[in-house]
């Protein structure tokens, strides 16, 4: 076995904590799950987006006559055909960012290569593609700006008239200047990260149609709540737009913003015919959102004994041409910039800047992952300077329950990061020896603190509806969307635990904005936390309502009932009734067996002027550890062993938790070592999937996983979120291991052989 065997459970749970193969697993191994591109409707048209070939230009002419005249073409639409050609994002709720609107279709101006200019629907995909080629657009190119540092310079070309600085967050506590001046040691570093592609295997896709005056889109999306924005774009009432989320073939944040939705909506509404749109992989590489490249400057001060006294952090993120979710990404970076460490004096500035690059937006880790390279590198540098071991220095500074964060918030759940560090290192075993001459080996660690749940000032909520059917089976309705991480399946496990319905007797209906209670989108590692709590509370409330009926039939107090195996019993193993019999009894007594519950996250507020206030509800802590070998001739880094441990509070489904950690770690290894969606002067350098190197089965070793279950999370039954956290540690862990091997700290991602060779040669890459 390559993964640690799942430990037997001692908790009082029967279903939670087991790893059943649920409905979605079965469909997936059969190949029978229907993704967004798998629906076909009678008379269906095929859509194509026409995109700008240049990064910055005025559109001086747009002629669609020839395209419209082409046989088979049903519609060619431009900005003039969009009722409300404005997408207003305001990702931080208008707290601190500039208000900049993004057109659905470019109106007179394009700001990045790949920006949509027109959209076509035709009888076949080939006809749509050919018609797209016939659209004549005249571009008068304008100067662009392609990196955030240049974009902030005086006289830089303006991406938007209001200016290039989208948002600048400040978090301040204590007296950083004084504490740095008084520190025994101060270490400094500058760290740079790259554009990264989500590279979900399923490209953006969907089908749209109009029926009974309602526009319905069945798409690959993380957020069905975009229905409201689509209604705004078309000038329809919100009740006339329905979004259904198919099970996704991966999303990782890249399907958190709208992708095909507005284009499908325009075409289906205009033609009144079903339309399918699938973005080519090459189109997805060109025009889908990317991970923000960061420039991070850190100064960290400490006492001789290793106690951190101060940290100054400046973060600059490349937002690309439009706001998307950048304000919130850079906020998360600021809120997490000091990691799982006590920093009594902190000054953090985190700025998102417009450029003429493709927009950056949500990507697993969401700002809180880029900064791990910064704070962990600083810790290693500090350990080296003070002659302390890396673990000793960390233990001296780890946060604990009750500590204050730089925002003035007090941590109110346990911090088991030290335990995760020792367990991760423990899994690696004895350090490896170099395999030959010219080879150096090293060991690295990387700890992190990653939020789960939305930024607190959004006053997040999620609803779920449960119904015990007449035959005793259970129906769950939830607006949750499923990325492939088992979002729906874990809700079934929670409901099964409370109501005793066997998993095979539970059906879950998800991701439909018209028919299911809103769950608020699958992002920010929030669905287990939010919808898990919603289902837990809905199930408990439903049980409280129907328990008196069972108690009456069985002649015992309601609190004594045992709910398991599709039965309600007077005591475990004793006489009982089936859930079907209970449903029938409830029906006779006019007790409803359906229940809607809304769960609300804790509320709070953040003051952007003082940089103090509430940020995130809670955090997941973890540590990764790795052994690497560096070939000093070629600069090649080989990962020899990799181990990861996170405190997940409680593992609802341990196998899926392992899967999340393994998958996050390998995605992070790609980020650390190979992936670079380089954009030169506004043009993406990877035009083909073959040019963009995501990890394959040979690239990296198995990821060893251990799980801590502290039981102190704010999710259902004490769970903490694990979707995003495990990608955060990786780059820092590998940098730490390379540092250990060659004695020089890599500070730029990805850590390619060329860059490692430059470090070995004493050159800064």
């Amino acid at each position: 076995m390559t993964t640690r065997d799942l430990q037997p459970r001692t908790e009082p749970y029967r279903i939670v904590g087991t790893s059943p193969a649920h409905h979605d697993f079965v469909d997936k191994v059969k190949g029978s799950l229907l993704y967004a591109a798998d629906w076909q409707l009678p008379g269906m048209l095929h859509g194509r987006v026409v995109r700008s070939p240049v990064p910055s230009a005025r559109i001086t002419g747009l002629d669609v006559t020839a395209a419209r005249a082409r046989p088979g073409v049903a519609a060619v639409l431009t900005a003039a055909d969009v009722p409300n050609n404005q997408i207003v994002e305001l990702a931080s709720g208008g707290l601190a960012e500039l208000q900049v609107t993004m057109p659905v279709l470019a109106a007179g101006r394009v700001r990045y290569t790949g920006e949509p200019v027109a959209v076509v629907a035709a009888a076949t995909q080939q006809m749509a593609d050919e018609a797209a080629e016939l659209i004549a657009v005249d571009y008068d190119e304008l100067p662009g700006v392609f990196d955030p540092e240049s974009a902030r310079a005086d006289g830089a070309p303006r991406v938007h008239d209001v200016g290039n600085t989208l948002v600048s967050w400040q978090i301040r506590s204590g007296d950083v200047a004084g504490a740095l001046a008084a520190a025994d040691v101060v270490v400094e570093g500058e760290y740079r990260t790259q554009h990264v592609e989500h590279a979900y295997l399923e490209p953006e896709a969907g089908v749209g149609w109009v029926e009974n005056g309602v526009l319905t889109l069945r798409v690959s999306t993380q957020v069905i709540e975009h229905a409201a924005m689509i209604a705004h774009i078309l000038g329809l009432s919100q009740s006339k737009v329905r979004v259904i989320a198919a099970y996704m073939g991966g999303g990782f944040g890249g399907k958190e913003d709208m992708t095909v939705e507005p284009y499908l909506a325009l075409l289906a509404w205009h033609t009144r015919r079903p339309v399918r749109m699938i973005w080519d992989r090459q189109e997805s590489l060109l025009a889908s959102t990317k991970r923000h490249p960061f420039v991070m400057r850190y100064r960290t001060g400490a006492d001789q004994d290793g106690t951190i006294t101060a940290q100054q952090v400046e973060i600059l993120g490349d937002a690309g041409a439009y706001p998307n979710l950048s304000p919130r990404v850079l906020f998360a970076a600021a809120a997490c910039a000091c990691g799982p460490y006590r920093v009594p004096n902190a000054s953090i500035t985190s700025t998102a800047v417009f450029t003429n690059n493709v927009p950056s937006s949500a990507f697993r880790g969401f700002g809180a992952m880029q900064v791990v390279l910064g704070y962990e590198s600083q810790l290693d540098l500090l350990a080296g300077r003070l002659g302390l071991s890396r673990t000793e220095l960390r233990e001296r500074n780890f946060l604990a329950k009750g500590d204050l964060l730089p925002t003035g918030e007090r941590l109110d759940t346990c911090v088991e990061v030290a335990q995760t560090m020792h367990r991760a290192l423990g899994m690696l075993g004895a350090p490896p020896r170099p395999s030959g001459p010219g080879k150096l080996t090293g060991r690295g660690i990387g700890c992190n603190r990653h939020p789960y749940g939305r930024t607190i000032w959004f006053r997040d909520r999620a609803s779920a509806w449960l119904s015990l059917q007449a035959d005793g089976t259970l129906l769950i309705r939830s607006g949750v969307t499923d990325l492939g991480a088992g979002q729906a399946a874990s809700l079934c496990q929670i409901a099964a635990e409370v109501l005793g319905a066997p998993l095979d007797d539970i059906s879950i209906y998800i991701g439909d904005s018209a028919l299911n209670p809103p769950a608020g989108g699958t992002f920010a590692t929030r669905q287990l936390y939010m919808s898990g709590n919603a289902v837990l509370h809905a199930a408990r409330e439903l049980r409280e309502r129907i328990a008196p009926v069972a108690a009456d039939l069985l002649g015992v107090p309601a609190d004594d009932l045992d709910w398991a195996g599709g039965h309600v019993r007077a005591e475990a193993g004793g006489p009982g009734i089936t859930l079907a019999e209970l449903a029938a009894a409830c029906d006779r007594r006019a007790v409803s067996t359906a229940h809607l519950s809304t769960w609300r996250a804790e509320a709070g507020s953040f003051d952007p002027r003082t940089g103090q206030g509430d940020t995130f509800p809670d955090y997941t802590y973890g540590t990764h550890a790795a052994d690497v070998e560096v070939d000093t001739e070629t600069g090649q880094v080989t990962v020899l062993r990799y181990a990861a441990c996170h405190d997940v509070g409680r593992a609802i489904n341990p196998m899926r938790v392992q899967g999340q950690i393994q998958g996050g770690a390998v995605q992070g290894l790609g980020y650390a070592l190979t992936e670079d969606m380089a954009i030169e002067d506004g043009y993406a350098q990877a035009a083909l999937f073959a040019d963009y190197l995501i990890p394959n089965a040979q690239d990296f070793p198995d990821v060893l996983v251990d799980i801590v279950e502290s039981g102190e999370g704010k999710g259902p039954l004490g769970a903490r979120g694990i979707g995003e956290p495990p990608i955060g540690n990786v780059a820092a862990t590998i940098a730490s291991a390379i540092h250990d091997a060659i004695g020089v700290r890599p500070d730029r991602l990805p850590m390619t052989p060329e860059r490692i060779l430059a470090l070995l040669d004493g050159r800064h890459p």
Binding site: T2, F25, V29, L201, G664, A697, V703
Partner: protein, 160 residues
């Protein structure tokens, strides 16, 4: 464009189809025959989500024209299942090991693995090693699982 009539033998059934010379095997299987287990992922033969067995050999459906497959045996994942959608033993292993997350790469992954195990056994080399499995899977990308559970599942199948 001029259409041509061809016969495709897919999962042991003959299909008479009219196809354009430019239609890929992927287009015809996915859109023409409604086989949702053969999926578009990149169109470059890089990702492996459109993998099918052509006369028993794994190929990328996006790189083969439908006319080139005329008269040949095409097997998709669904063709491995028994009557009543009885799972193939390899599918059982994937299920048990939690080897799918989003599931998009899963059919191609299994077909490539099946071919490897069959070849290895039929050529008298016994079950493939974990490293041989890794090598065989380089053309089937997965972005969710990190591959560990996929390798576990294939090893378990190979052991049977």
């Amino acid at each position: 464009m001029t259409q041509r009539q061809i016969t495709l033998i897919v999962n042991d059934r003959d299909h008479e189809l009219w196809v354009a010379p430019s239609d890929t095997l992927l287009d015809v299987l996915h859109d023409g025959l409604g086989l949702a287990d053969v999926r578009y992922g990149c169109g470059e033969g890089v990702c492996g989500t459109c993998t099918v067995l052509l006369d028993g050999e794994p190929v990328s459906g996006c790189l083969i024209l439908a006319v080139q497959a005329a008269g040949r045996q095409v097997t998709t994942l669904r063709g491995l299942m028994g009557p009543g959608e009885e799972l193939h033993p390899l599918q059982e292993c994937f299920l048990r090991r939690g080897a799918a997350q989003c599931g998009f790469c899963t059919p191609g992954m299994m077909l490539t693995a099946l071919d490897l195990v069959r070849r290895s056994v039929s050529q008298g080399r016994g079950r493939p090693s974990r490293d041989e499995i890794r090598y065989a899977l380089v053309g089937n990308l997965c972005r969710c699982t990190g591959y560990t559970k996929i390798l576990d599942a294939i090893e378990e199948y190979a052991d049977q």
